[in-house]
């Protein structure tokens, strides 16, 4: 009996280690693209960093931990950029980064879903991001489109001319570390 229990412990430990080591670490390349759009405003975030551990065959140990620099916002208009960084909107001086940390990644058919905590403007909310992953030789690309309600994060006035639902389009090419 002892032997069976011991074997089970050893096997499960090995399985856990094996599963853990299966997760591939990826390095984000400079060709990423983080865009946002809503009625009355659209643009990009130019600085995006973080760590990505992802295996398309084993999503259990996969994890995203990424950060966007709020000061890198570019709407294409100087006045809009200044407004976006001001206390009324992102308040970049007080909250300089937008952070997303995944807690669970699951495969859904040919795509994936990442559930995690999005921290923005000092407020943390759980959101689910659907995404796809395409392998390209020694690299790959993550693509996702999702919507965030800016009122959930107290960004801007609720009745402002800018739409409340912000569509985010994320394209992150990666290479194996």
């Amino acid at each position: 009996m002892k032997k069976i229990i011991l074997s089970a412990i050893v096997l499960s430990s090995l399985a856990a280690i094996f599963a853990f080591t299966l997760s591939q670490n990826w390095q984000i390349t400079d060709q990423y693209n983080i865009t946002f759009s809503t009625s009355g405003a659209s643009g990009i975030f130019k600085k995006f960093t973080g760590s990505i551990a992802f295996d398309d065959q084993n999503t259990v140990t996969s994890k995203f931990d990424v950060t966007i620099d709020v000061n890198s916002i570019n709407t294409g208009n100087g006045m809009q950029n200044k407004d976006a960084k001001s206390a009324e909107w992102f308040d970049a001086a007080k909250y300089p980064v937008i952070k997303y940390t995944s807690t669970k990644i699951v495969k859904t058919g040919s795509s994936y879903q990442s559930t995690g905590n999005l921290q923005m403007h000092g407020i943390t909310k759980q959101i689910t991001i659907p995404f796809t992953f395409k392998r390209t030789g020694s690299g790959g690309e993550f693509d996702g489109v999702f919507t965030v309600n800016r009122n959930d994060f107290n960004i801007g006035k609720p009745d402002a001319e800018v739409g409340t639902d912000i569509k985010l389009t994320v394209s992150v090419p990666v290479i194996k570390k």
Binding site: T35, N74, G76, N81
Partner: protein
């Protein structure tokens, strides 16, 4: 009168275009952004020339209709329109590949006043003040 006005418009338009291009170079040298992909020198000179010709036609019409008061009203309208035109560089949305859109109005707004400046500077040479 129309010929003199048109000649003044063309020359002041060309002059302001050349000054604007020089200003663009100076701006690029000082601040590192010339927005050359958005405002090409040929477009600057064309727009300035167009402004000068438009001013010439406007001046001629005001002078013809309103006689002595025509020039005063024309000058006011020329400046008001120059001021109003700065709304465009302030509101324009540049391509997202442009890293510093904040610097764009600083370069373009002065250019919007160069045609009027050139017109007022050169006018006494081409059209003598009425006594």
């Amino acid at each position: 009168m129309f010929k003199k006005s048109l000649l003044l418009g063309v020359i002041s338009g060309l002059l302001s275009g050349i000054v604007s291009v020089i200003f663009q170079k100076v701006y690029a040298h000082s601040l590192g952004s010339d927005f050359i992909d958005i405002v090409k020198p040929v477009n600057i000179i064309s727009a300035s020339l167009f402004g000068g010709i438009l001013a010439a036609v406007g001046f001629w019409l005001f002078d013809k209709w309103l006689k002595t008061k025509g020039e005063i009203i024309f000058n006011f309208i020329f400046i008001i329109l120059s001021f109003a035109s700065i709304l465009w560089p302030l509101a324009v949305k540049l391509p997202l590949t442009v890293d510093t859109p904040e610097l764009f109005p600083g370069m373009v707004i002065p250019m919007h006043f160069f045609p009027a400046l050139a017109w007022f500077t050169l006018k006494p040479i081409f059209i003598k003040p009425q006594k």
